[in-house]
Subunit: 308 residues, 2 copies
Amino acid sequence: MASVHFNRIALIGIGLIGSSLAHAIKARGLTDHVAISSRSAATLARAEELGLGTSYHANAIDAVRDADLVIVSVPVGASGAVAAEIAPALKPGTILSDVGSTKTSVITQMAPHIPDGVHFIAGHPVAGTEHSGPDAGFATLFDGRWTILTPLPDADPDAVAKLRAFWEGVGSMVEEMDAAHHDKVMAIVSHLPHIIAYNIVGTAEDLETVTESEVIKYSASGFRDFTRLAASDPTMWRDVCLHNKDAILEMLARFSEDLAYLQRAIRWGEGDKLFDLFTRTRAIRRSIVQAGQDTAAPDFGRHALEQK
Amino acid sequence: MASVHFNRIALIGIGLIGSSLAHAIKARGLTDHVAISSRSAATLARAEELGLGTSYHANAIDAVRDADLVIVSVPVGASGAVAAEIAPALKPGTILSDVGSTKTSVITQMAPHIPDGVHFIAGHPVAGTEHSGPDAGFATLFDGRWTILTPLPDADPDAVAKLRAFWEGVGSMVEEMDAAHHDKVMAIVSHLPHIIAYNIVGTAEDLETVTESEVIKYSASGFRDFTRLAASDPTMWRDVCLHNKDAILEMLARFSEDLAYLQRAIRWGEGDKLFDLFTRTRAIRRSIVQAGQDTAAPDFGRHALEQK
């Protein structure tokens, strides 16, 4: 029996994160009723085919009625519109949260719509894959990963504790921080890597001297790693770029500055500078593996997987 | 029985690639004798402990004596010194090759030392992991990957065919191209990705506002992918940067130009430009998976691996 239980959980948006929540909620028995809504009729129909929920609603407002937990899992640019739509049906005591990759913008968009007595606590499960849509979800996505909650200073401690228990219930570990700091952390650990990955794949595609077929054939030498991130959902990532602009631009500036330094070292044949950088970056990989945040198997375990 | 057979194969250098060759040669029965040399006494002793070869030699010249195939697997900056050292003991008819990630520089360094009658054909197996040293090798590293041979215009066709059969014998597919083109292709598919990965990990480490512990905890959101490449062998990658300078600088210039365009689109909120790039990069991932050069499993199969 789970240590936290809700009468009715509404999932607004049923892509990778929403559908993973649906699987995990069911697997851990966190509620009697999962009400699912999607603004896409095709996505909603697919969610029903997959049996992800208890009830299915074309209008988000019907899904949230009588829910004591509402999780909004939509591209961050749509957060305000969803909040405006569901606000009239949110009952006092309901916990409203989201899973967006940017937090300042989401809070700015959603907070003005929230009725008194509703506990709005923004959140972000730091987990995902490059796949998207209701078929992409799986129950163990959050296992061993962190979820960051960014409650406002006046948030109700009991509601925060209950939301924390929910995320722990679906397998996650939970951390709290303020929204602005979250956005800076994510700018470097998630947003910049995705932007760089999209960029390098674009650069490779545009070359005149190297064919796309060559890029594909020899991609195992490094390039293929970047194509995974660059295959992520375009709408989600467009919105992230537009809604965490300041932090992303700061990280991009630092990255480009460091790259210019490295480029100059290559041009002038300064092997010692290259060797120093290439040596100190090894340690952080070991720390990530030790922290249980990546596999120790070489090549992300691709070979191990192939040989099973 | 393998379709190609050598009396004695000398492996000069026994790191990730050399030791993987040793495993694969033994597994496929491509020779009666594997002679191993390393300039590091500790590495050589470890190779012997692991039983990677038939005989072990502190001096490379002793390993290559009577060998009909010699594969040099050392950081590319050491290629010339190794060629000078072994040249006096190479007998006519011997095939001499290497596995270096840059080809123009290796040919320039090695070719002047090669005695008449010895077939020098440079090569590069486009395969690897982030691990290094004699313990990192495994027999299936080359399975389904490409090896690029860059024979000089006057290379003996029979010798090229025999070297091709060797690489096919250890599981690889084989392609031929000229050295300059190889270096351009690798600059974009391998060298730039590694340099970018090293750079972003360095940028993240140097931040004052985000702690290293936060970078590690939340690395599953993208960053951890880059730490794998950034954990590669520093000596090897220093040498690659120094020995493929022109092609790398060209690719870096293009990458930075494209990144400036992307940065400007973020600054000015040009969502359409972002969406266009983020959409067209998805296709290349599908092509790589279809070509058998990466797993279709989400997140490189990390979850699949954890759940076994």
